[in-house]
């Protein structure tokens, strides 16, 4: 190939008055954007290598670095934006599929931001969570329509439940897509906070078995690392049908990420690409799904709830209803802003629907069919803060999955280059020198702090509404009002407009 038309995305600016040539930027950049020039006795930069992950900026002891958007403008064009043009340059050079990581960054309506919460004034008191009990405990799993009791008064018909101290779980992120240290951080934080993390489809590393009580083990189309011991290890099993970032397509973990440990955990040869097929080849219909659900229940003596995770697509409500009747105990729905380690950009940015609308539609449908109380509803796909969680629960979710937010807590700076395997923060990488940058002790604490902080905020918001238990918020759409939403949107969301 001749001249590349690609230009740098970012510009590295260095304040030489401050730079002390300590070279930490150079040592910390897996993309080799910094180097020391002996002749000049100066640190220099290669702008085009920069992905703007902020690692160097964060570690620079003198704050000598700034990263800017590369100041190169195309002629103004609303239609042919620089991004579109650059994408074409890339593809014209490589003939490949545009790849990306993390969630959909495009400018589409974020419904969370059009929902407003209620608070008590006069007619009922708001509750101060610092002084009064405020309960977030949440149970996930199939609930009978009514409880039955034996002669001694013991409950006889309650299926297995997952108990969460707060309605937040770490969503599926496989060992392979993320590092073992990231997995350890998630697992430990989940275990110490009384919540769940999810293995994703990467199997369960031996060192993580100890956190089984707080683990949801996933069974995905690739069946990586799925065996009896694995199923037994978790507190629940999740069948992954789809992922919000890439509905309808499978996964691809490149061979270079399949090192010794990943290979052993996934039970695939070292260095080979781990390809998850787009569909489960034993699930071509809802009946097939039912078979797999019951096969898994059978395999685990009906002791663990089985979750089915789907991406939010157009007819999600009908699909969810089918999944509920197929025997799933939990339905997990992943919205189109959900993150990923790698996805084709076109898929990520154009397939699927917003989780807020999907959630509202599914909750309403399940209620119409009288199924809602039987199955738990977990949603994910870009929960960004505690208010999003409160809104999700008010719309009808039992709990939420957080993925991107958890990774951000661990240090992710949203450079969206996960697929390169060179994550400078030790998260989406298997390179040992990068992996160790994420100290799981610190990671655990950071995640715990996030969960703690969010839980506290949820309590504050609940208290403001005059509610002291999360179950009184669930599906309580009267606590929501819309803003800047049209009639149809309000109708789907099942809420009134602000002021009504």
């Amino acid at each position: 190939m001749a001249l590349s038309y690609k230009n740098p995305e970012f510009l590295i600016e260095r304040d030489y008055d401050k730079c002390i040539n300590c070279r930490v930027c150079e040592r910390q950049c897996a993309n080799e954007a910094h180097y020391y020039d002996e002749d000049l006795d100066k640190m220099m930069a290669i702008d085009k290598n920069c992905v703007n992950c902020h690692r160097c900026v964060t570690l620079c002891p003198t704050d000598a670095l700034r990263i800017r958007k590369y100041p190169l403008e195309f002629k103004e064009n609303y239609n042919w934006t620089g991004e579109m043009i650059n994408n074409i340059y890339k593809q014209a050079e490589t003939g490949g599929v545009l790849l990306t990581g993390m969630g959909n960054p495009t400018k589409k309506k974020i419904y969370w931001d059009h929902l407003l919460l209620n608070a008590s004034q006069v007619t009922n008191p708001s509750i101060d969570p610092l002084r009064e009990p405020m309960e977030l405990k949440t149970f996930l799993g199939r609930k009978p329509e009514r409880l039955e009791f034996d002669q001694e008064g013991n409950i006889t018909n309650l299926p297995p439940q997952i108990e969460l101290e707060t309605p937040i779980m770490f969503s599926a992120m496989s060992f392979g897509s993320i590092s073992l240290n990231a997995c350890k951080s998630l697992a430990r934080a989940a275990s110490e906070m009384g919540i769940m993390y999810n293995t994703g489809e990467g199997g369960l590393h031996q060192e993580l078995y100890q956190y089984g009580a707080n683990t949801i083990v996933q069974v995905a189309s690739g069946r990586f690392g799925v065996h009896q011991e694995y199923l037994d290890a978790g507190a629940a099993i999740e069948i992954k049908i789809g992922q919000g970032a890439k509905p309808g397509i499978g996964g691809h973990l490149p061979g270079e990420k399949v090192g010794e440990e990943v290979s052993r955990t996934r039970m695939i040869p070292k260095g080979t690409d781990a390809l998850s097929p787009a569909p489960h080849h034993d699930i071509y219909s809802i009946e097939d799904l039912r078979q797999l659900i019951y096969a898994l229940k059978e395999a685990t003596d009906y002791e663990k709830p089985v979750s089915v995770k789907i991406s939010a697509v157009h007819n999600v409500a009908a699909i969810a209803s089918g999944i509920a009747t197929a025997g799933a105990d939990i339905i997990a729905i992943d919205g189109y802003r959900g993150g990923t380690g790698a996805a084709p950009t076109m898929i990520r940015d154009n397939v699927g629907i917003p989780i807020e609308l999907a959630l509202a539609a599914v909750d309403s449908r399940l209620r119409e069919e009288g199924l809602r109380n039987q199955v738990s509803l977990v949603i994910g796909g870009s929960i960004r803060n505690s208010a999003d969680i409160v809104k999700a629960i008010a719309l009808g979710a039992d709990a939420v999955y957080i993925g991107s937010a958890a990774l951000i807590a661990l240090g992710c700076h949203m450079c969206q280059k996960c697929y390169t395997g060179k994550c400078n923060w030790g998260i989406a990488t298997q390179r040992p020198d990068l992996v160790k940058r994420l100290n799981p002790e610190i990671g655990t604490e950071r995640l715990k702090n996030l969960i703690r902080g969010w839980s506290h905020e949820i309590k504050e918001m609940l208290g403001g509404m005059g509610i002291n238990a999360i179950e009184s918020l669930r599906g309580n759409r009267l606590m929501l009002r819309g803003i800047d939403l049209n009639e149809k949107e309000l109708e789907i969301l099942g809420i009134k407009h602000a002021g009504e």
């Binding site: 409880l147 409950i155 238990a469």
Partner: protein, 366 residues
């Protein structure tokens, strides 16, 4: 004017209740006196009474109390009643002119039994059949409202201060072994007759002081079981929840209380293993029935009453015992007004039910 609001009605209130545990009946004078003392807890936009044991001569029949906006509504509903029930007696409920009470609807009562043929066709229990008919009238018949529908009981309510309502309905003429009363202080809508308390379904009657912040969650839950919340009041949803849990799900009252005024997790953690399992199971399955927010309620039933506070006691509730009499009210003074020296007075803790039972009736109410 009848207007069912489209959004939820909020209100503050006074409540009072008297039970004679031996089942001896007494006139409505005492309860009127008691509720009247708490005049300032209402604002004249609603008052009402539930009385149990007032129709001994018709005690096997459902006593349907009705409000009608106009004769047309009355005709339509009576047509419906005739098609679905055998009506033993239809009469206007006697009232007297009271200056403060205006704009009263047409107020009628019917003593009925389900039409056997229709009942068989519907394949429902008598109670379910009656309940379904009540929903249907309230939902589909404009200008008509079922005030109460239990046996040997009735609800008398309207817009006005409760003491005026009592006078209006001539309650001194009725004798009941259980009386509950309500004075209302709605904050947002002009009172309408149907919106006054007590709210009822079959034998259940509820008087309620408070604001159920969990209303949206409770409503959407209960609606999955075929209930229709048309009134947009907390009272309505509370009534249905009790109906569902006690009558339909046949949960013991003690467990129903553990659902609607669930013990805190911190309390559950201190329970014994078995009790803990039950309490957590209840919370897991019946979380959506938890009544959250400040409330005190008196749930009336032919076998007695349950008085209950929210679990962190954000609204007042006082009880007293004197001989066979059990009193419950928003304020102690409302009890002492009619029973100056009760043997025992206490304020139940949040979430701790006060159960008053007629002698001889079992704890499992149904």
């Amino acid at each position: 004017m009848r207007r069912i609001p489209e959004e939820k009605i909020m209100s503050g209130c006074a409540i009072s209740g008297i039970l004679d545990r031996k089942g001896r009946r007494f006139s409505g004078e005492e309860i009127i006196k008691s509720i009247a003392l708490m005049h300032d807890r209402s604002n004249g936009l609603g008052g009402g009474f539930a009385a149990y044991g007032i129709y001994p001569e018709y005690k096997e029949q459902y006593a349907i109390h009705m409000f009608y906006d106009d004769l047309q509504a009355k005709e339509e509903v009576e047509d419906f009643l005739e098609r679905h029930f055998m009506i033993s007696l239809a009469e206007e409920i006697p009232t007297r002119k009271v200056k403060a009470i205006t704009n009263s609807p047409l107020i009628w009562r019917y003593f009925v039994l389900p039409d056997q043929h229709k009942l068989e066709q519907a394949n429902l229990s008598e109670d379910d059949y009656v309940a379904r008919c009540v929903f249907k009238i309230n939902d589909q018949y404009r200008g008509a409202f079922v005030v109460s529908s239990g046996k040997n009981m009735g609800v008398f309510k309207g817009v006005g201060y409760p003491e005026d309502i009592g006078e209006f309905y001539q309650l001194e003429q009725y004798e009941a072994y259980l009386w509950t009363a309500h004075g209302r202080f709605p904050t947002n809508t002009p009172g309408w007759w149907g919106g006054a308390h007590p709210f009822t379904l079959l034998d259940w009657s509820i008087v309620h002081n408070g604001e159920i912040s969990s209303y949206g969650a409770n409503k959407r839950y209960i609606e999955m079981f075929g209930y229709k919340c048309t009134m947009m009041t907390d009272t309505e949803v509370i009534t249905y929840l009790f109906d569902l849990l006690l009558r339909k799900h046949k949960l013991p009252l003690e467990l129903v209380v553990k659902a609607v005024a669930a013990p805190l997790w911190s309390e559950i953690d201190r329970m014994g293993e078995k009790e803990k399992k039950i309490a957590s199971g209840i919370r897991a399955v019946y979380g959506s029935t938890l009544l959250n927010g400040p409330f005190s309620i008196i749930l009336g039933h032919k076998n007695g009453f349950v008085a209950l506070n929210d679990r962190i006691k954000l609204r007042p509730l006082v009880c007293a015992e004197d001989g066979e009499r059990l009193y419950v009210a928003s304020e102690e003074s409302a009890i002492r007004e009619i029973c100056p020296e009760p043997e025992k007075v206490w304020a139940p803790r949040g979430g701790e039910p006060v159960i008053g039972l007629l002698e001889g009736s079992s704890e499992e109410w149904l």
